[in-house]
Chain length 431, copies 2
């Protein structure tokens, strides 16, 4: 509807109607998960309680809770009455020092000046993407991948280019495809390890291969490592920055997942500069951008040194053991479901499951499969569409075991009800 | 420096140098206060301790502290263990309900759905500006005014147009000037009341006059009311939204100033829609934008109902009394300084002081005046330049009285040392 222009007798300026439009920025800022979920018919079966395997919040089931040391640290910070005022926009020095210390190893030295505290890892990613890329430039990101990368970039007119992950190779990056996407407008590569939604954990060699591509094309990497160290027994997490002397890397992480406090909104960027490449402009850019919303909550900042120092290793081990047990249970059960192909995770809190769609001719897409799973079995999984990856769905592994077992039985029942035999599969297509 | 292109024997793609640039967005995001202060020579006099009258953080002197009820509320929220997970990106319903209740009066009904919790008032302003304005459009804002409005808009390519405030009329808006700035690309007016840096509090009629202009041109208003109710005895604060039935208003506020917890980063937007104007697009836009960084700290959100209900009126009264007493002391003292013209504030935490520059011929700008005040008297005030307003400086009024008295004496000494007599003033200009 165009504005209606009329010039009144007593008016100098044009009279406009009350039409207040939203900005382009807002219109382009679009969370696909939200709108996909909102567009779904989510009527659970009336006789079965709903089991939501959809939400990446490890705290919602009540079985996983932050350790006492974490709560105490905030309690102490609160009562010190020293953490109520404005902190520097990049965070208190003490808090940044604690993060730096936490990540410093014999090989990788992180200084407090390399740390920018943010309001959650999302904010860290927002700063990194918006510091590196301008309108019309592009950032490479994984498919399937976490949707916020694209959401954050789109508002700024930054293009997203998706490199493929290979389910048959434990979701490793298709390196040839990745490299083929790089063009003169490419400004960064996002690498998410361990991965949401895949639960994959890359080995050293694969990370080195990715780094080699970045180095060949002189591209910095944004390493989304919000699940850092969140790997199953026997697996090893390699911080990307520990493996390169030449590629500048912005590592994003935070307390969110492993410390089980997503609502506290404490994230950070570690600036791993190499050969003073980021010092020229990007470090300053990140600092300027941090001034927009003046940093993260100071109580959590004040508690950060104690949180990072005092949370016992056993706490993480227990969380991971819970998730790993669930992963094993779910993997075994789902493998037995006709036409389902779970991909075994090595860390994080998720598993992706492929659906052989031709064995489910009732459903055109995995979206319909997931919708019907809700209405018949009251089990809600996220359709692959949420990660730009059709024919798959994602489950979360942080749910209490008993609930998971029920959910797995229901999925089995659902598959038994709806699949057709292998030998008949595909027939419907030609009918 | 252009990229260096060379095609190596084994390489398919162009080889680039390690030149990683910052984005346009980052380059345009520029906090003038930070860079102005950084550019100042701030060497205090070695024999006099530094008194910083520059920082708008009411907690830094230690004399003003959040009330016990505020601390207890967070303590309780922490131990309930219910506020660690993700909240909805606009905030918990209970927290939004508490804010809605806090602002609801007989005349103005605020529903929880009209509240969006943000990471501080800066974030609230960021959402409002970026939801309403696109590249090439403009937003009207006060001069002198808080610099973040321009900083936030500039990154998005939004133009800032400054309407004048009139020091001789208690910093009321120059309405004729305001209206003259409106053009077809104008999408919103920012009104800051009570004001930083002026400390002005507008009366009802003046606010009605501003609203009339907005109504005439069908422009929504962003009301920065972070100092809401922070007015001296005898003054009255009128929420802008309480005075209009037709102008859509986004009111921004938070805990920051009045509750003395700037670091906690708890702000909010109240959506005062009128005739369903904002419902069409803007409400949805604000909600989408809130998903970028997933809202504000959940512990503070969990505490918000208790904070808003249990903080006693006496706490606010005491803070205001402290500031008002300081305002009166500073005003009286500064009025006696030759060539200084303090403008009496009615609220907030600041006072602007005009300098008759022709009576200080040693200094070309107020910037030099302020710099020398540091080197000779160790008193640091913000130069008007920080608010786009030369020939003035701003002081904060939250400092302990004893410190304020010392600072005032030092300013007097400084003025006595440097001013020239009225009758001689201006001579230097023609010399
Ligand atoms: C891969 C990945 N990155 C970043 C985030 C965002 O984390 P935060 O809640 O700290 O913003 C998530 C949250 O689910 C995630 O899965
Ligand atoms: C007028 C005005 N608006 C907004 C803000 C920002 O408040 P917050 O710290 O909640 O982001 C300030 C802070 O000084 C201010 O003076």
């Amino acid at each position: 509807m165009p504005d209606h222009h009329s010039v009144g007798a007593t008016q100098v300026k044009e009279k406009r109607q009350w039409t207040v439009r939203a900005s382009e920025f807002a219109k382009c800022t679009f969370n696909p998960i939200r709108s996909i979920v909102d567009s779904m018919k989510l009527e659970p079966h009336p006789d079965k309680h709903m089991i939501a395997l959809s939400i990446g919040d490890p705290t919602i089931f009540g079985n996983l809770k932050p350790h006492d040391a974490i709560i105490e640290a905030v309690q102490n910070a609160l009562h010190k009455m020293k953490f109520n005022g404005y902190a520097p926009t990049v965070g208190y020095l003490e808090a940044r020092s604690a993060v730096a210390e936490y990540y410093t190893t014999a090989d990788t030295i992180v200084s407090p000046n390399d740390v920018i505290l943010c309001s959650g890892c999302s904010h860290a990613l927002d700063l990194c993407i918006s510091a590196l890329a301008s309108r019309g430039q592009n950032v490479l990101m994984p498919r399937p991948g976490f949707s916020i990368y694209r959401t954050l970039g789109a508002g700024y007119g930054i293009n997203s280019k998706f490199y493929n992950l290979k389910p048959e190779a434990g979701w490793e990056v298709d390196l040839v495809h990745l490299e083929s996407l790089i063009d003169k407008n490419t400004v960064a590569i996002i690498v998410n390890n361990p991965s949401n939604p895949c639960g994959s954990v890359y080995n050293k060699q694969h990370l080195l291969d990715i780094l080699q591509i970045a180095e060949r094309h002189c591209l910095p990497i944004i390493a989304d490592e919000i699940y850092d160290f969140f790997v199953f027994k026997g697996e090893e997490f390699h911080p990307l920055a520990s493996l390169s002397q030449n590629v500048p890397i912005l590592s994003c992480s935070g307390l969110t997942k492993r410390f089980l406090v997503p609502g506290w909104r404490m994230g950070w960027i570690l600036i791993h500069d190499r050969n003073n490449v980021l010092n020229v402009e990007v470090r300053g850019a990140l600092q300027s951008l941090s001034q927009r919303i003046i940093g993260s909550n100071t109580l959590v900042q004040g508690a950060l040194p104690d949180i990072l120092r005092n949370t016992p290793k056993s706490f993480f081990d227990e969380t991971i053991a819970t998730v790993q047990e669930n992963a094993e249970i779910a993997f075994e059960k789902l493998q037995l479901c006709p036409g389902l192909h779970p991909v075994k995770p090595q860390g994080a809190m998720y598993m992706m499951i492929g659906i052989e769609m031709r064995r489910y001719p009732e459903f055109v897409t995995e979206f319909q499969f997931v919708e019907r799973l809700v209405s018949e079995q009251s089990v809600f999984c996220l359709p692959g569409k949420c990660f730009d990856y059709p024919d798959y769905f994602r489950i979360v592994l942080t749910i209490p075991k008993e609930q998971l077992l029920i959910a797995m039985d229901r999925i089995m029942e659902f598959c038994c009800d709806h699949h057709i035999e292998e030998k008949n599969a595909g027939q419907h297509i030609v009918e």
